[in-house]
């Protein structure tokens, strides 16, 4: 347990404490609520709103597509090559973010990207390719690239936990396949599904480097605004305002994780 506590202290508790305390200090380290006023600025509100929208959309789409894929993978024989291939692949893709992912999309979908050029030759041009750098179109697509595999990995154990006897019991009691999914499997999987979707939400909400690599002209998302305020050389003394924004993120993530933990406990009880 000691290594675990040491790890969480250094990488979770101390940074969180720095953020929380810093959010209430001014440049002279005196207590102030002034940093919180930064949270009401239109650009910050817009950043938060857009971060929530991006996270919600990619977590919802990622959860739906990844959920269906998880079910498809679960139908493959346990230990089969297909199953091992997809779970391994998704394990890699779920962690494939940041600059490398941004570059992969630029190389494929930008104006001179390989796929854009190929599609253009067959009359299916993707236009200027500028859409790739917009938070509501480009980032949605890029984020889905790691959200869908992450969903598959997180949700697969729940789908695998469905006992064949539940389906057979439903059938012997007079139910159909639809009855099974609507009344038995659906409700049993729902806490795990929502829990996994919440995990995807926090994954997207806190993603930084992928967005930073793709969107360089503005800071449409909260993590980018925090990064900017901590590293800006134009406006000095903005660090603590950045910490207030970070506190806002911590609170959103904390709420989501509490919900996730509650759902996970509930699902775990059912799957025992």
């Amino acid at each position: 347990m000691v290594p675990f506590f040491a790890y969480t202290t250094v990488f979770l508790i101390v940074p969180t404490a720095v953020v929380v305390i810093g959010a209430f200090l001014d440049a002279d380290n005196r207590f102030t609520l002034g940093n919180l006023e930064a949270l009401t600025e239109p650009s910050v509100v817009r950043g938060l709103t857009q971060s929530v929208i991006l996270s919600a959309v990619t977590s919802l789409v990622g959860a739906l597509v990844g959920g269906v894929l998880a079910y498809a993978v679960s139908t493959a024989r346990e230990g089969s090559v297909t199953r091992r291939f997809f779970t391994s692949l998704c394990g890699v893709l779920a962690q494939f973010g940041g600059v490398a992912l941004a570059f992969a999309f630029i190389a494929s979908f930008s104006a001179q990207g390989l796929l854009s050029v190929l599609l253009g030759r067959v009359g299916l041009g993707t236009g200027s390719g500028l859409w790739l750098y917009e938070w509501d179109r480009g980032l949605v697509l890029v984020y889905l690239y790691f959200q869908i595999p992450l969903m598959l990995i997180v949700f697969l154990p729940a789908v695998e936990g469905l006992r064949p006897q539940w389906r057979e019991a439903t059938e012997t009691l007079g139910g159909t396949t639809w009855t099974y999914w609507r009344r038995v499997a659906g409700p049993i999987l729902m806490p795990s599904f929502v829990g996994a979707a919440l995990l995807l939400f926090t994954n997207a909400f806190s993603a930084y480097s992928t967005a930073k690599a793709l969107v360089s002209q503005a800071n449409p998302l909260l993590p980018l605004q925090i990064g900017s305020s901590l590293s800006s050389e134009v406006i000095l003394g903005q660090e603590n305002a950045g910490k207030a924004m970070a506190l806002e993120m911590v609170l959103v993530v904390a709420v989501v994780m509490v919900l996730y933990a509650w759902l996970d406990r509930r699902a775990g009880r059912w799957m025992r």
Binding site: R163, A169, T172, G174, G175, R269, W270
Partner: protein
């Protein structure tokens, strides 16, 4: 072996006849069912007994509609249901693995099948209450599966299966996940309930004690075929094949000379069962309780190898000069009379036994 003799099933019960005819089911070249034919009388409880992979569960799943036989037919109440989907077969089933819906309470589980049949809420609640009362779990009606013990879960599963008033009740090794004491209790309870409701029941198990204790008739299966179907006492005392003699209860395989319907064995003579082999080089299958052992020398001398106290009775294993090891059942109070190395003599009691070619 404890064996409560089942009361004969009342023919006026609401049970219905079941007929499986020449069922065949092959998996990857291996026949799980190889021409299985079995008849269940209305209200009868038949146990299918056999080792793992003998096809007993496949037979039950074919009857439930969860597996399709490659050939053969299934009739319930005279109606051919071979191609009828599971959800239209009107059968209640209790599974080996716990199968309660975990997001529903015990009551909701029992009500589920009734809800699918369009029964109104009050009728559902009344019937669920009745069924939970029948299995002795009324006080646990509002608990979820994870709040119930294994035995309680299987009781609720039984109540759920019976709530829909099925034509046939199918029990697929429902007790195998339970510990010995709970298993024995629930086994007797299943029989009590089955007699009370009178539903024709097929009970699959690999536990011979369980099968002999609850069934009106027991069918012993081996490699997809029925070796013998008979009431428990007959199956035990008059096995028709060496497999049945070996599989049901303990059996001594003793060399014997068989002539004119009698076997000369252990210095005595016993009648052989119909279908037995004949000749000077035969093996007779004799139960441990079909042999007596006494201290001292006699016509069939032997040396004690071990003497064990087994609770309700004792067992002495003795070796003959020919090297045959013979297991003999003795009264538990007599076990201390025998020590390894003691000289004893053996003799058959005189019960009929099956003889097979050596």
């Amino acid at each position: 072996m404890t064996s409560t003799t089942p009361a004969p099933t009342d023919p006026s019960t609401r049970g219905i006849a079941v007929q499986l005819t020449e069922l065949r089911r092959v998996y990857g070249g291996v026949a799980a069912l190889d021409g299985l034919t079995l008849h269940l009388e209305p209200g009868e409880l038949v146990a299918l007994l056999g080792p793992s992979g003998c096809g007993k569960t496949t037979a039950l799943r074919c009857l439930a509609g969860l597996e399709d036989p490659d050939s053969g037919s299934i009739e319930v109440g005279g109606r051919d249901i071979t191609g009828v989907p599971t959800n239209k077969r009107d059968m209640g089933m209790v599974f080996q693995a716990y199968s309660l819906f975990p997001h529903m309470t015990a009551r909701q589980n029992v009500e589920f099948g009734l809800e699918l049949r369009g029964r109104d809420r009050s009728a559902r609640r009344a019937r669920a209450g009745e069924m939970l009362e029948l299995v002795g779990l009324s006080v646990h009606a509002d608990k979820y599966a994870h709040q119930l013990s294994g035995g309680q879960q299987q009781r609720v599963a039984l109540a759920r299966a019976l709530a829909i008033e099925p034509q046939v009740l199918l029990l697929d090794e429902p007790l195998s996940a339970l510990d010995a004491k709970v298993r024995a209790q629930l086994r007797d309870e299943i029989r009590r309930i089955q007699l009370e409701v009178g539903t024709t029941t097929l009970f699959v198990t690999h536990d011979q004690e369980e099968a002999l204790a609850v069934a009106d008739r027991v069918g012993v299966m081996s490699v997809g075929r029925l070796e013998q179907v008979a009431p428990p006492a007959e199956l035990y005392s008059a096995p028709r094949t060496p497999f049945v003699a070996d599989f049901v209860g303990l059996t001594n395989r003793l060399r014997a000379r068989v002539e004119d319907g009698r076997a000369q064995v252990l210095g005595g003579s016993i009648p052989v069962l119909p279908g037995s082999a004949d000749g000077p080089e035969a093996v007779v299958l004799v139960r441990p309780e079909g042999i007596v052992v006494e201290p001292g020398d006699g016509p069939a001398p032997a040396t004690v190898v071990s003497a064990s106290f087994l609770g309700g009775h004792g067992r002495v294993v003795a070796r003959t000069p020919e090297g045959e090891e013979v297991s003999v059942q003795v009264a538990n109070t007599d076990v201390t009379r025998y020590r390894p190395g003691d000289r004893v003599h053996l003799a058959p009691r005189g019960d009929a036994a099956l003889a097979v070619a050596d």
